[in-house]
């Protein structure tokens, strides 16, 4: 027979099995039958289309785990929780619960003891978000091409946020040690609630109109999707889109992305990050100045080093050209020349000595008894030369004889006496001693010598006739004659 349980006993057994089997479970479902008694615990039923599960969220677990400094945080994600998360739960909400299963014996029901609740999708809001996103995407609000770069060192910055928020505190805290000084104007707006979208949009439009700011910063601290809802509205999206200067957003935590983030020129993850995005750390500028200063020192050093090197070079050149150095060099080269000269002299005498020795040798060979052969050869050679000399002399004598004969013949042809043999004569005017060519050269009474082939006739002029035919007066008196060869 099987063991018969008592109710309590069975329930305890079931409880043990259940708790051992499901120490921690994640369940998602929709909330219904939510109740919040004065105890502070929250009771609800999680249900889906198939089943329902009773759930209790005890007051002590509602803040999540607690850090040393008293902040509440989500043990699953590490995210610091805003207080009052439990107060936002409502019927119809889609949630993810983490907890353990247990049995509540008095009522004999099993239930989920909730440790943590996370909203899922948020139903209607999520749909609205997606619808607006699609609409603005079609209008080109998210185009990467229209994103403007931020000015590199903005010095006039307009901040749109709640002036008392943690967001503005974080922004200022981070921004203070960045950039090289700037002006920040805070435009105080609510960042959640009915009025928020309109006030935020108006502030952005005002800033654009005033034209003072180089950049607009739109920031808000973390919160639930409803808290951030102003940043998912068409009004804010339009204002960001129309803003004439670049807009930086830093809304919520890093995981939150709003429509405003998507329209903005630059999306920073958080307000602190927005400050980091705007300005480089001041230390970077200091380092840049240090680098420039070092570069200047190095460049100036090079400038003088170059000149020192040139100076040293010139100094060397100058000392090379100095008179003292030139004198030294001249002395050196003189010494070298003297050395060469001495060596040359020795070489000369050496050469002469050697030449003398060679000549002595040759002489000794010539006159020594065995040199007879040389003498015969010389004799023979002398005989031959003698023959050639005789032959040459003979030729020369014959040539000369012939030349002489020819000259005699030519001379005979040129003999002035030759024509006399044929009857011509030569007449000399004794007064002048010259041959007479013109009758007019002679005067009456002049003595003439007429040379004929054989002998000379002396005559006297009796008459001279003017040029014309030969006058009969040119008749000479012959008074003797002289033989001429």
């Amino acid at each position: 027979m099987a063991h018969i349980f008592r109710v309590g006993e069975l329930t305890r057994a079931v409880k043990e099995v259940l708790e051992a089997e499901f120490p921690l479970v994640f369940v998602r479902g929709q909330i219904s039958n939510l109740s919040r008694p004065f105890s502070g615990h929250v009771y609800f039923t999680l249900k889906d289309a198939e089943a329902a599960l009773a759930a209790v969220w005890f007051r002590g677990a509602q803040g999540g785990a607690t850090t040393g400094s008293g902040e509440r945080y989500n043990p699953a994600t590490g995210e610091v929780l805003e207080p009052g998360a439990a107060m936002r739960l409502g019927d119809g909400m889609e949630v993810l619960c983490a907890g353990r299963l247990t049995v509540y014996p008095p009522r004999g029901v099993y239930q989920l003891v909730v440790e943590m609740v996370e909203e899922l999708g948020a139903g209607r809001l999520h749909q609205e978000f997606e619808a607006l996103k699609r609409e603005l995407a079609v209008l080109g609000y998210f185009e990467a091409g229209r994103k403007r770069p931020l000015p590199p060192h903005p010095v006039r910055v307009a901040v749109v946020t709640a002036s008392t928020s943690a967001a503005v505190r974080d922004f200022i805290k981070v921004g203070r040690d960045r950039g090289f000084g700037c002006q920040v104007r805070i435009h105080d707006t609510p960042v959640q609630g009915e009025a928020a979208p309109g006030r935020i949009a108006a502030a952005i439009s005002d800033i654009g109109r005033q034209g003072w700011a180089e950049v607009v910063v739109l920031i808000r601290g973390g919160g639930s999707i409803e808290d951030l809802w102003a940043f998912n509205t068409r009004a804010v999206a339009d204002a960001v889109f129309a803003c004439p200067v670049p807009v930086v957003t830093g809304v919520g935590h890093e995981v939150d992305t709003t429509i405003a983030d998507m329209v903005a020129d630059v999306r920073a993850a958080t307000p602190s990050h927005a400050a980091q995005t705007l300005w480089p750390e001041r230390a970077v500028y200091v380092q840049g100045v240090d680098d420039l200063e070092r570069a200047a020192v190095a460049a100036a050093g090079r400038l003088t080093t170059d000149r020192e090197a040139r100076l040293a070079h010139l100094r060397r050149g100058l000392s090379w050209l100095s008179p003292a150095r030139r004198l030294t060099r001249a002395e050196l080269s003189l010494a070298a020349l003297a050395g060469r000269f001495a060596r040359l002299g020795m070489t000369l005498t050496d050469n002469a000595g050697r030449r003398l020795e060679r000549l002595t040798d040759r002489l000794a060979r010539t006159i020594r008894p065995g040199g007879g052969l040389d003498a015969e050869v010389s004799l023979d050679r002398a005989a031959r030369l003698s023959q050639r000399l005789e032959a040459a002399c003979g030729r020369i004598v014959r040539d000369r004889e012939r030349s002489l004969r020819d000259a005699g013949l030519r001379l005979a042809g040129l003999d002035p006496m030759a024509p006399l043999a044929r009857g011509y004569s030569l007449t000399t005017l004794t007064r002048t001693g010259r041959f007479l060519r013109r009758a007019s050269d002679a005067a009456k009474g002049d003595k003439l010598e007429v040379m004929v082939y054989e002998g000379v006739i002396r005559a006297e002029v009796t008459d001279v006739s003017a040029p014309g035919g030969p006058g009969p007066e040119r008749k000479a008196e012959c008074d003797g004659g002289e033989e001429r060869t």
């Binding site: 010095v155 200022i172 104007r185 500028y285 100045v289 200047a296 400038l303 003088t304």
Partner: protein, 87 residues
């Protein structure tokens, strides 16, 4: 004010130009020395500007102008009229 901050950028630009000129090395020594002195002075000015740099925060009051906004993150209470109440 804004003029001072723009001067920082201009000073930095001038310093960059001076260093570039010095690095080109193509100048008489006297000119180089003068540039070097100017560069050192500019660097000192830049450092001073950076040391003095601060964020001036004000709260825009619509058309009514601005009021100083106390730095909520630090004890920089040397701002005149630091007691502006914002709420």
């Amino acid at each position: 004010m804004s003029a001072r901050q723009e001067t920082f950028e201009k000073t930095l630009e001038r310093l960059e130009a001076v260093v570039a000129r010095l690095e080109s090395g193509d100048m008489p020594l006297e000119k180089g020395v003068a540039l070097f002195k100017e560069g050192m002075a500019l660097a000192a000015t830049c450092r001073k500007r950076l040391a003095d740099a601060k964020m001036e925060i004000s709260l825009a009051l619509g058309e009514g102008g601005d009021v100083p906004f106390p730095d909520p993150a630090g004890p920089s209470s040397d701002e005149p009229g630091g007691g502006a109440d914002v709420g």
